[in-house]
Symmetry: C2
Subunit: 412 residues, 2 copies
Amino acid sequence: MKKIKYLKCSKCGAVVSEEVMYNCPHCGTSGTLDVIYDMELIKNELTKEYLKENKNTNIWRYLPILPLEGLTGAAPLQIGMSPLYKSSRLEKLLNIKNIYVKDEGRNPTASFKDRASAVGIAKAIELKKNVICAASTGNAASSVSGFAACMGIENYIFVPETIPEGKLAQLLVFGSKVILVDGDYDTAFDFCLKAVEHFGWYNRSCAINPYLVEGKKTAAFEICEQLDFKVPDKVIMSVGDGCSIAGVWKGFKEFYDLGLIDKLPVMVSVQAEGSNPVNRAFRNNKFEFDYIAPKTIADSISVGIPRNGYKALNALNESKGIAVDVSDEEILNAMTVLARHTGVFGEPAGVTGFAGLMKLAGEGAIGPDESVAFIVSGSGLKDVKSAQMAVLKPDKVKPQLDLLIKYFEENK
Amino acid sequence: MKKIKYLKCSKCGAVVSEEVMYNCPHCGTSGTLDVIYDMELIKNELTKEYLKENKNTNIWRYLPILPLEGLTGAAPLQIGMSPLYKSSRLEKLLNIKNIYVKDEGRNPTASFKDRASAVGIAKAIELKKNVICAASTGNAASSVSGFAACMGIENYIFVPETIPEGKLAQLLVFGSKVILVDGDYDTAFDFCLKAVEHFGWYNRSCAINPYLVEGKKTAAFEICEQLDFKVPDKVIMSVGDGCSIAGVWKGFKEFYDLGLIDKLPVMVSVQAEGSNPVNRAFRNNKFEFDYIAPKTIADSISVGIPRNGYKALNALNESKGIAVDVSDEEILNAMTVLARHTGVFGEPAGVTGFAGLMKLAGEGAIGPDESVAFIVSGSGLKDVKSAQMAVLKPDKVKPQLDLLIKYFEENK
């Protein structure tokens, strides 16, 4: 493809031809590849004027810098251009001048993963692949499932048995062939790899397929456009495998390289205390990951081996980033604080970034004059069981006014 | 308010002053009021040019014909301008030339009700009301809850004990004061009325408050704009209380009266067989409702007494409408057919309209050259339990390739 120069390994830095479909030939599975574009070529097309005139209000407006020849495989779903809210109520609460919330729960299947799946499905169609597959803790699965359904593409989804009910129901309603793996996410992931090899399917996993992250970077492009190209000082993300923070960072870098923005944000990686391999490596200044069995309520970022960990570390190192760990209790508290101040209801992993912001704000690590943006990566409706843990179920009241008055008095 | 001429009773036709806050003084609870605008006045402002120039991509772009003085109480959430998809896969399946799907699950709290709540909360703030309340089967509740949270308004929500878990969790996460009523929706509704009278709260129920439906009509405005002012032949809606179909019909009528469109659609009311009071009345050419205890999986439209039934009947009579009843089985089937052809996952009530379209198409009641639009009124993630009834849970597979191959062979 003319606009793509080459692929580059996030681990060893090797330059790899576009013909390589998945990982770095030297590093194997752990060497996920970045797509490197010919910026001089793209610069001519992707200008502020181009964006201003573009009537597409979805991720396809960024086609000049997406790894697709055209829009043949672009699903007719409204994907991306999710709202970015400035929240005066949060600004007051946390004493920070500018706080922006990007609600990714507003995507077609209610998560950030839709951006990646949209590109993945489009790429599969462009490559004339008839069967697509993915391993996922849930959101990537329901997302590829929804997009495949919309485009009529056969698909196999490998999920760990711990997948929340809402996410599993989505997959089944969309008609995916679901393989409920007896094991955790890591097991499901490895099992999917084996199956891909055997059956020759197209693999949608962000941890394998270099083109998926390309969808995720569009969130950064949108933040730039939505803030009239004024980049926030800090961009805060929930981190699991590492491809979301890597994707968003890549987006900012590309807009910077295109001369569309004049500064880069500091990337903040927020992980759950019980699943923090990226943050551990970053803090210890290491470029490798040690495995600890993950344990967190935030299923979407519950990861023992970060499959895109090198990309995430690169993002943190390049942006002089910050790593914050939060407890499950802080995550559940963040869920209600966010909902009660903004009307945005996120799932546990979705609000983990905000939990990190609350922690940093509490420690005074973010100045009152700063501007910060955080991404809510998935809707709270995806994992109602966890939401129920954040709140108390109300008592039943008989429909009599005197009993209600009494009930209010007792529950002040 | 200068742009409002008067309110008009949907039951007896009486003209009522704008000072009347809730129902018709003659008819009581059953006489819900319509807001009648000064069209000659509005015509000067609300033109195609005005709409073209308007940068607001939410319902507030229609302010000239909303019952608000200004946008003081407008929540900073992206409400409305939900996607309208043309689905070639459904068109092929049902042999109809133009099928449009409007996905209201993409609203802030994932349902059509957000349009009404946005206007309701804005109106409450404009009227300087500090406490708002609602009775709801779930979606109106979570919607008013989310908007109230965003604006920091105290709110009380009366829900029947049968409310699906996802909807209840939303309310609690948003911090509403939830009254879980020992009884069904009708009981919760009446109980809420009594409480309003006692406590003096502002009542957000569409069945009481004439301003709520005004939010719902914006979906019709959007359909007009999204189709470049070419109105579909038929607009198909799931119907419970009746205010959604009434609201959407009112929207088309108003755009017609403003000269923005040159024809009106036929309105199609789809109800669940076990909860069809509006359709029964319409078919029997009656202007009254008989109570049968409702029984349907589609909780959002499970209604014994249609609280906006007269408005709904007026919509059907005026538009020479069609009434279709569908079984719960047809609703669940419609859920998977819709999801597997469009990528849109609706809750049972959300896909009831589509179930009606499938039925009409099957009976040849819609010609191949017609254009039809239907509204998916809420996200399937709101009621996962029902979705689970539409699908089979997959078996667990041990992570061994040979077992997977065997599993595929056994489950062809």
